[in-house]
Amino acid sequence: MYKLKATIIKDIRILLRDKVGIALAFIMPIILVIIVTSIQNSTFQLVNKNRITMMVCNRDTGKLSTQLMSTLDKMGMFKINNIDKAETDDAIKQRMRGKDALLAIVIPADYTQKITAKAKNVSGKALNSFGLSGDTAKSKISVNPLAMYYQPIIQESYRMSINGALRSALQIVESRETLRQLYFAINEKPLPEALEKDLLNNQTKINELPVSISGGIIMPNATQHNVPAWTIFAMFFIIISLGGSVVREKISGSFIRLKTLPTNFMVALVSKQITYLGVTLLQALVIFSMGIWLFPHIGLPALNLPSDYFGLLMVTLVCGWCAVSYAICMGVYCQTQEQANGFGAVSIVIMAAVGGLMVPSFAMPDAFKTVAAISPLHWCIEAYYTLFLEGGKLKDVIPNLLPLLGITLLIQLAAYIGLKKKNLI
């Protein structure tokens, strides 16, 4: 026991003197988790709470374009900034390049005229189909498109939701006009406002209900997504410190010297695993604490810990053990510290990307979903999300922990074979 204690003390001393390793193990993930959560949170707010400025060049002089702008304004998604209808397309593009707005729409000059004509046409067709006499229906009336300019920095998913909102507003205006035309054709008087409201505004509401294992409602947000993800990333980045330490011991000949001493080399490996597992637990503790106590002070949603603390501890322990095993394995196979740092860091970024830390794995192509299963980070994030987002308990993460333990044991075996082949044990 004294040998193990002395070895752990030695490993802790070396770790504490590795300033770069400590910085990468703690400071880098802390910065990353704050930055990424802030960015995702502000995107979330932009889409859901803040209004995005939209320049509107209304070249139409009719009432329907005014209704369209009013409808867009009522949606609460856009802050309408009217610009002179005389502005040319080039002038609008110039304004966009000057970052006046991320978005601009141009309502064509004949918008009201065309929509009205279309509504009359549809109304006529409807009356004819009812067996009543209506205006002779034309086969088709084409409406000039509404132009939407956007900054290329707007991501596709966000652009799609803007497009959806615009389509919805256009549909409301067109439907209202068709109803009015139909009502007028039948009753020869305008559609009463109350009836119009009843017909158009009585929409079925949508209740958004995240599915959870516990049955409780946990509202997902940028913090709940990012804190677990970057905690895993931080744990695996222990490779910079631990992988480098293993390589240094190999190169310096310390491992060789240990082999000449009357102590089993496994003591050295167990010590490294205990010491650095402690570091990964500390990383998780620091990052989770930040999520709980610091985030609300900097305008980010607070982290809600899962109700099953024991489950959280077990997941963190298994993730940490896998990260430590991977770092030791890399240290065993890499010839230089530079190799361990470079290959280690790149491989973790790749495994994180493939594993679903950066893009959710459900959104990946099928081939990548299969590859994700061999990334230990995938099973780590699945286990954390089950706890943090779905309100799961330890029994719910067992299907994630078993493959993760399997991968960890394979990594340990690979490290053992490497040590044997290099005659270090």
Binding site: R13, L258, V267
Partner: protein, 251 residues
């Protein structure tokens, strides 16, 4: 009393070759080093000195034959034999991030000492090797000579009966060399058998009383230093070395 009881190292019919026939190989090697010797192992680069040292310390395993240290077979499953010897490799095989005292504390535990024994030996060795004033400073800031002394201190932390030394004074100044050789004499007087290899032949003359010349995995001469110099009519070890191994480059 068996003859082996008086032997520090007893190598019988040793055969060894590296995988894919790379490097030196030994076939049927026999070597006996009596207890209490200051034994020098010399040869040109690539002759097999380090390989033999690695075989004697159990770092690599022989293909056949046996190696015994004080009657105990060298076998990776027999960790008891590792208590009998100390090893001072040519590289600085310790933790440069740690201080001399911290290194000795760790290696003392691995050598099987208790905390109390380690503390006692640490103080003793740092004093003898002139490292007491820097006992708590990180070794990475030390000069080459100071690092050599730390390397030596770790090798002898557990008072081994046999001490294997691979180039223990390479790259040090005259003062440090003098101190290290002096300390090795002192250890030998206390009963430690020294098995030493170096290219510093004048230093070897000061230290060794018995030598073996090896070349291409074979012992080409062995005996008392003075009797060998007399036999080959060479007044210095360097002359003897060149006479036996030739003047061609070996690497």
């Amino acid at each position: 009393m068996a003859i082996t009881d008086s032997l520090a190292v007893d190598i019988q019919n040793l055969s060894f070759s590296y995988a894919e026939d790379a490097g030196v190989h030994y076939t049927g090697l026999n070597l006996q080093i009596p207890k209490g010797e200051r034994f020098g192992l010399f040869g040109p680069n690539g002759a097999g000195k380090t390989t033999l040292m690695s075989l004697m310390t159990g770092l690599i395993n022989a293909d056949s034959g046996s190696i015994k240290l004080l009657g105990e077979p060298v076998d990776k499953k027999n960790k008891a034999v590792n208590k009998l010897f100390g090893f001072v490799p040519q590289d600085f095989s310790f933790y440069q991030e740690l201080s001399p005292a911290e290194n000795l504390e760790f290696f003392g535990a691995w050598a099987g000492l208790t905390k109390k024994q380690t503390n006692h030996r640490t103080t003793e060795l740092l004093e003898v090797l002139g490292l007491q004033d820097v006992r708590n400073q990180q070794v990475q800031k030390f000069s080459g000579g100071m690092k050599r002394r730390v390397n030596l201190a770790i090798g002898v932390i557990h008072n081994p009966a046999i001490l294997f030394l691979d180039e223990p004074t390479v790259g040090v100044d005259v003062q440090t060399r003098h101190a290290i050789i002096g300390y090795l004499h002192q250890l030998n007087e206390q009963g430690t058998t020294l098995v030493y290899t170096s290219h510093q032949l004048s230093e070897a003359e000061d230290l060794c009383n018995d030598v073996a010349m090896i070349d291409d995995g074979k012992i080409i001469a062995q005996g008392g230093l003075n009797s060998l110099m007399e036999k080959y009519k060479e007044p210095t070890l360097e002359g003897l070395f060149l006479k036996l191994t030739g003047k061609q480059y070996r690497d």
